[in-house]
């Protein structure tokens, strides 16, 4: 699937000074098994590293994780930075514990959507759901000529 022009390639990483590596390993494993090609930048990734990599790899989406609570600071102006660098249309997801303290998820979601993220996830989100959304969103953003009439059915996660 990977490398195929109709494939799904994403750049994954943990943003900022955050060194939580466990979820990153799990995500890589589950996304890959779900039929998504993952370019994993690991932990402590800057906005520019995400964007440089997404450009170089012609990725369909950037998946930003933040577990340590500084998401609000680290993700500031991410979409604007993408636009400056010519990636204005890329699918942009963010997930994790994005703010300091327990806050209503709806408020956090609204805040990060305002920053330009297409979707915002809790740390306990069902990853099968993320995979399905990711494929559909990437398909929607493909240049018209390359766009699938229907998204490919999501590969089943192996039991």
């Amino acid at each position: 699937m990977s490398g195929d022009s109709q494939g799904y390639k994403v750049v994954l990483g943990v943003i900022g000074a955050d060194c939580h590596a466990v979820g990153n390993r799990i995500l890589t494993s589950v996304l890959t098994q779900g039929g998504i090609e993952v370019v994993n930048l690991g932990v402590m990734v800057s906005q520019d590293e995400f964007i440089d990599c997404a450009r170089a790899e012609q990725a369909g989406a950037i998946l930003v994780s933040s577990i340590y609570g500084h998401g609000e600071l680290d993700c500031q102006d991410f979409r604007a930075r993408c636009e400056e660098r010519g990636l204005g249309d890329i699918v942009l997801y963010v997930g994790g514990n994005l703010v300091i303290g327990k806050q209503e998820f709806a408020a956090v979601e609204a805040q990060f959507r305002d920053m330009g993220f297409d979707r915002v996830f809790r740390p306990t989100v069902d990853l099968a759901e993320v995979i399905a959304l990711l494929k559909s969103d990437i398909d929607q953003r493909r240049p018209a000529g390359l766009r699938n009439s229907r998204a490919l059915p999501a590969e089943r996660l192996s039991a």
Partner: protein, 482 residues
């Protein structure tokens, strides 16, 4: 690694290095060792960490300690004083920018927190607040306070906080590199922590006992007990060499009760064995148990149950101290109230278990035997690699994968060792990587994993590991197929 070795830092070289360290940020200029000694000497006995630990150890009590840190001094004082009635010793958790010596970003976090009226940092930026800000903090508290962080190069942080009256300092050259950094060479972080330990040694030589606590849980995720034990022993040896006298070794709850009790009991015994063998006799050893460090359930009642299991096991194993989680754990930094709730639940459980019979069973003894065999095998190879020098041995061991921490972000870590739970939830090795464990121990791990695989009618694979990592937050210990 041309000049790294496990020898006490030379006094002149230390002083020269100190000059550089204190120039790392403007607040470094506020540090003066003579003043620092006076501040520490003036601390009343109830604010001295080493005293609290020694008393708990002597009386068989278990101390409770939360985690907490916010951006501004006044708010942090209020937070700690809100926790103080519910705990025995206080923390100051340092923010993630400071941990990476990114003091400019920490300053921006301070400024924006002031503007926002709420902390946008995940901890207290002690370096930016300087000796003066930290002293205001210590003076406003009524219990001993410890620096808790995750900083590969904590030299300036140590200088500032110890000068301000903090009386315990967490971390170590391995435990604050492998799980907390990406590109920091291990020889560099070990060398920087020799500096921190030597600084503590200087306080000890002046009659001021500062507690040092290597960080036990590492990545907090399916860490086999022998892995964290080896790191604890290595960092203990490195600290003792620099003159540290008061050491607290840690272990993070793995989930299986028998394995956790065995781990905490064996930790004290193994550490004493290696410390005494290395010729150290004048030290005070205590233990700290970290409640579950992995993913928590979102529901607060379920999270409290996870906290309670940790409290029970810690007390059954007679840990000197417990690091307490909160019902908000799944959502990140907790509120004061959530932090109090975790402490209250923990206290109730500890109190109910306190007087009860010592727990012992053949299962616990078997786990102790396995852990001891594993630790001895790895330590033997580390000492061989280092030619008897644990500093050099540690660096070479990590490079070769002889020591390997699962799920660690550091490039210095090979990352081949892969743990998985067995059918009873104890942590075993799915892939030993390059760690030189004896054949009988490896066979034991294989058999235990095979037993689970049969029960689940699936082959062992990384999927099992993924399921295990997500199990507790999904209300199970072992990640079974649905």
């Amino acid at each position: 690694m041309t000049d790294l070795n496990n020898r006490r830092l030379d006094a002149a070289a230390f002083d020269a290095e100190r000059g550089e360290v204190l120039q790392g940020w403007a607040t470094g200029a506020g540090v003066c060792f003579a003043d620092a000694l006076r501040v520490q000497e003036a601390l009343p006995v109830e604010k001295r960490f080493a005293v609290a630990l020694a008393e708990a150890d002597a009386q068989g009590h278990t101390l409770l300690q939360p985690r907490a840190g916010v951006a501004l001094v006044r708010e942090h004082v209020a937070l700690l004083n809100g926790l103080s009635p519910y705990c025995d010793v206080l923390p100051t958790t340092i923010d993630a920018y400071t941990r990476h010596n990114r003091y400019a970003e920490a300053q921006e976090g301070i400024d924006r927190s002031r503007a926002a009226g709420t902390s946008l940092l995940n901890g207290f930026p002690a370096v930016n607040h300087g000796v003066e800000g930290c002293r205001r903090l210590v003076e406003a508290l009524e219990k001993p306070v410890q620096v808790r962080h995750g900083t590969p190069d904590a030299r300036l942080l140590a200088e500032i906080t110890l000068a301000a009256g903090f009386s315990s300092f967490e971390g170590g050259g391995i435990s604050y590199n492998i799980p907390y950094a990406k590109h920091v060479p291990l020889e560099r972080s070990i060398r920087h922590w020799q500096y921190c330990d030597r600084l503590v040694g200087r306080f000890e030589e002046a009659g001021i006992s500062i507690n040092r606590e290597p960080f036990g849980p590492l990545t907090g995720t399916l860490v086999p007990p022998f892995v964290s034990h080896v790191v604890a022993i290595l960092e203990g040896l490195l600290a003792l060499e620099q003159g540290v006298k008061c050491i607290t070794l840690g272990y993070g709850q793995a989930g299986n009760v028998a394995q956790d009790i065995a781990a905490l009991r064996s930790l004290r015994r193994l550490a004493n064995h290696y410390f005494l063998n290395a010729g150290f006799t004048d030290y005070r050893l205590t233990t700290v148990f970290h409640q579950w460090m992995g993913g928590f359930p979102e529901d607060e009642s379920q999270a409290t149950a996870v906290i309670c299991l940790g409290a029970l096991v810690a007390r059954q194993a007679r840990a000197t101290k417990i690091i307490v989680k909160t019902p908000h754990e799944a959502s990140g930094v907790p509120t004061l109230e959530a932090n109090q709730a975790g402490l209250k639940a923990t206290r109730q459980m500890v109190n109910m278990i306190s007087d009860q019979n010592r727990v012992d069973s053949p299962d616990i003894q078997m786990e102790i035997d396995v852990i001891e065999a594993e630790v001895h095998a790895v330590m033997r190879e580390i000492l061989r690699l280092g030619g008897g020098d644990v500093a050099r041995g540690a660096v070479l061991a990590f490079a070769a994968g002889v020591m390997d921490v699962p799920f660690a972000p550091a490039k210095a870590n090979l990352g081949k060792l892969t743990p998985v739970r067995d059918n009873h939830g104890a942590i075993r090795l799915f892939d030993v990587g390059n760690v030189p464990l004896p054949a009988d121990v490896l066979a034991f791990h294989r058999d235990k994993i095979a037993e689970r695989a049969r029960a689940e009618r699936r082959d062992p694979s990384f999927n099992m590991v993924v399921d295990d990592v997500r199990a507790i937050s999904a209300s199970k210990l072992v990640g079974r197929p649905a």
